[in-house]
Symmetry: C2
Subunit: 177 residues, 2 copies
């Protein structure tokens, strides 16, 4: 595979001269599949899909999130978000309060019911991390954070980190009704 392990000078080859990290590629594929698999099952009971989960998750994590911010996080289109958001609102999992500072905005909040479901889902996925970390050493958590962060596009990291560490939105104050 593009090798040439003889002792020649080995032209660095534009793409990548090493054999690909197949093991890592596959482990990440299977790890992610199991990671989302558990939640999917629970969601079925509510007739929700992954899209609902993602929306509910970020709304719970950042109450008062605007639709635009959510679109930016999820990187989907308004139309794709519309249906799942409507279903979550109709089902009483999320509610939208119109902004006071900017009354065009719909600031999204989880209801108690939404918070409970979001927590349940987070605990499910968290349990997998908990078990994995327990199998590894005491520094495993910190290392996992570093590894996963390194896997994210550098330009994205700050934004992602802000969400993950639950910092205040960079937008100014946003009172709401």
């Amino acid at each position: 595979m593009s090798t040439a392990h003889t002792a020649t000078k080995l032209p660095p080859a534009e793409a990548e001269r090493h054999s690909p990290h197949y093991e890592l590629i596959e482990l990440l594929f299977f790890a992610y599949r199991d990671f989302v698999g558990g939640a999917d099952q629970l969601l079925e009971a509510y007739r929700f899909g992954r899209a609902h989960h993602r929306v509910l998750h970020f709304v719970s994590r950042r109450p008062g999130l605007t639709v635009a911010e959510l679109l930016d996080i999820l990187r989907i289109t308004k139309q794709s978000l519309a249906r799942v958001l409507r279903e979550l609102v109709d089902g009483g999992f999320v509610e939208a309060r119109h902004g006071v500072v900017d009354r065009r905005q719909r600031l999204l909040h989880p209801t108690d019911k939404g918070r409970r479901l979001a927590l349940q889902l987070a605990q499910l996925q968290s349990a997998r991390f908990e078990r994995a970390l327990a199998e590894l050493g005491p520094e495993a958590r910190e290392r996992a954070v570093q590894f996963l962060t390194a896997m994210i596009e550098p330009e994205e990291r700050e934004r992602v980190g802000a969400i993950a560490r639950r910092e205040a939105p960079r937008r100014a104050l946003r009172a709401e009704a």
Copy 2:
């Protein structure tokens, strides 16, 4: 949040008494999104989707794979596989040779064209690992393998490992035409 943070005895709670690992959950979400994102772009040029990628990947990794084995790896239904496999065969990326030992089987092989595309995709994703690992220490690779393995369902690990380490299929010899 089912809390009761008053200073009562705090029964250990069946599910999980700690606050969930939100940071890890979100980092994995974003890391995976970026991980598959690059390949998705390349695949568009061929009018293929992720499903095609997965099939091509595993067929390239395990030439001679049977349809049943592939279904077992991907955990999708026969019908879901049918279209993408047909498109890959029609496009000349994969070819099926009927088994000699068991003539019902279709042993799947990548063509040269298929191998090239698979390699290109693997290099793309591999480059992300390469960059990430370079940012971390020299033991990062081994640690990543351990972490990702720990994230996989224990009962799945052996099977996954067999694929990832590219061991011979557990089924006996399978000559082919």
